[in-house]
């Protein structure tokens, strides 16, 4: 079990999970440092979404422990969840409601007072460049715009940890780059902690703390550059291939 450093935003220890008798995650041990952009890298089916579902308590942990800024998710789910914002892989906006209404619903679910909610909604929609479109129905937005709205929503209650599960999947190159830059900017400017799950190696920068997940097991974690040099690979692509082929 990894020691939980005071600076860790999220720690997962001894976490295993089975669905229908099949082991999806096995003895997961991770530590996500506070105030950093950490990448959870893994192919489709590696177990990233299951891990996110456990961390957000959509699934109950069958074993192990999850702590968010020291709060045990099992013992204090409300406190732990209040510290998190989540962007799910599958779109999770109500298509029949407007952007503002979707955000307002989220604010209510977090118990935010009306005045605070209105001001936060305006600020976040402004930040993602959709303030003028606030009253448009969700179904009329493009995929990239919907993602921006989801990020705005995830940040509405001012979480300290933002979880993004394949947030750029299905988007065009420009939208992908814009969203990635936006989220990296949040880490730089607000000191937000981000756990960014992706299967796209080009989204990882050399200095990013990186966790490589493959077939439900953590193969390596550390700064991307250190993983590359430890393995003597010519890049993260090569390092990833070496690790997954050996597993």
């Amino acid at each position: 079990m990894l020691p939980a450093a005071e600076t860790d935003a999220l720690t997962v220890a001894g976490l295993s999970h089975r669905i229908g008798g099949r082991e999806i995650l096995s003895e997961i041990e991770i530590a996500v440092p506070a105030g950093r952009f950490t990448v959870l890298l893994g192919q489709n089916g590696a177990g990233k979404t299951t891990l996110f579902s456990l961390v957000t308590r959509l699934y109950g942990a069958q074993s192990g422990a999850i702590r968010v800024f020291g709060r045990d998710l099992g013992a204090e789910p409300g406190r732990a969840l209040a510290l998190m914002g989540v962007v799910f892989q599958q779109r999770a906006l109500d298509p029949d409601l407007s952007a503002r209404q979707n955000l307002r619903y989220h604010a209510a679910l977090h118990g935010m007072p009306g005045r605070v909610a209105r001001s936060r909604i305006a600020a976040e929609l402004e930040r993602v460049g959709l303030a003028q479109e606030a009253d448009r129905k969700i179904r009329s937005f493009s995929g990239g715009e919907m993602r921006r709205i989801e990020i705005a929503r995830a940040l509405l209650h001012e979480p300290r940890l933002l979880l993004c599960d394949e947030a750029t999947v299905g988007l065009d190159i420009r939208s992908r780059a814009a969203i990635l830059a936006d989220v990296r900017g949040l880490v730089r400017d607000r000191g937000l902690t981000v756990l960014w799950a992706t299967h796209l190696i080009d989204e990882v920068e050399a200095g990013d703390p990186t966790i490589i997940l493959h077939r439900g097991r953590i193969l390596r974690q550390g700064p991307a550059a250190a993983i590359i040099s430890d393995l003597g690979a010519d890049g993260l692509q090569g390092a990833f291939r070496q690790l997954t082929e050996a597993a």
Partner: protein
């Protein structure tokens, strides 16, 4: 690097829980308003039964004096409480459908990752669905009044607690079912195996003594059917009386169904976590 200050909402306050409840009510009301056809079909269904089925039976089937009625009544007067409960039954199942839809669309994840306790979120959702059934019932009662079905004026008030209780019971059943329904397509099964049997094998269409005359076995089936007690509770309270047995059973069934739904949606113990995950992914 400085992290943002810890959210003040880390501790769930009563005010926060209240705002959460209002938010869920508001969202369900908004969706209801957007689905105008849902309101219309909720009304058309019982009205067809009242205007066509009951009108046809009126001449051949009178109902003798049975509580809570103080005199002989026409069949269409007898059938009205059953049709009210039918509105609530369909509304409860509509809530179930809405939960499944939310799961497929991903919106359920937003609800379930709220810091509020899950039992509270589900109860708030149930309450929202129940409250939405009330205007449908009162509009139906208004139309029925023009048709000559005139319960005592005070009955419109005394029936309200019965409507809330029966709405909660049937909504909780819908909530429980929604945990077991994996896809929207499976909802046809709910129609065939839940709604129709519950409605027909109850006291909604015929008094239980008449059912017993036809088949004692069917009478026993009706006696085990929670819907029967929702109908009887509404029937008695529409006439300003309380049927204690129905009242206790409706409350009991509501608690059992809601308890089952909370258990099914519990991330650690729930059925859905084992099968597919409450958000619909995996």
């Amino acid at each position: 690097m400085s992290a943002a200050p810890e959210s003040a909402l880390g501790t769930i306050t009563l005010a926060g829980a209240w705002r959460c409840l209002l938010g869920i009510l508001w969202r369900e009301a908004l969706r209801f308003v957007h689905q105008r056809t849902r309101f219309i079909s909720a009304l058309v269904r019982p009205l067809v039964w009242l205007f066509i089925f009951a009108a046809g039976f009126r001449s051949v089937l009178g109902v003798s004096i049975i509580p809570p009625y103080e005199t002989y009544i026409l069949y269409d007067e007898y059938i009205v409480p059953g049709l009210i409960a039918m509105i609530q039954l369909f509304n409860g199942m509509q809530s179930s459908l809405s939960m499944v839809y939310d799961r497929e669309m991903g919106s359920m994840r937003v609800l379930l990752t709220s810091p509020m306790p899950r039992w509270y979120l589900l109860t708030a959702r149930l309450l929202a669905g129940t409250l939405l059934s009330l205007p449908q019932v009162y509009v139906f009662l208004l139309i029925a009044r023009f048709w000559g079905i005139e319960p005592p004026p005070l009955g419109y008030v005394t029936v309200l607690p019965a409507l809330v209780l029966s709405g909660l019971m049937l909504g909780a059943l819908g909530l429980l079912l929604s945990s077991a329904i994996r896809q929207l397509e499976n909802f046809a099964g709910v129609m065939n195996f839940v709604i129709f049997p519950m409605f027909f094998a109850s006291s909604a269409l015929y008094p239980l003594w008449k059912v017993e005359e036809a088949s004692p076995l069917l009478r026993d089936v009706c006696g085990f059917n929670p819907f029967t007690y929702a109908v009887e509770l509404v029937r008695f309270m529409l006439y300003g009386q309380i049927d204690t047995q129905s009242l206790l059973l409706v409350i009991g069934f509501a608690v059992v169904f809601l308890g089952g739904a909370i258990l099914a949606y519990d991330p650690a113990r729930g059925l859905i976590a084992r099968v597919r995950g409450p958000g619909g992914g995996g």
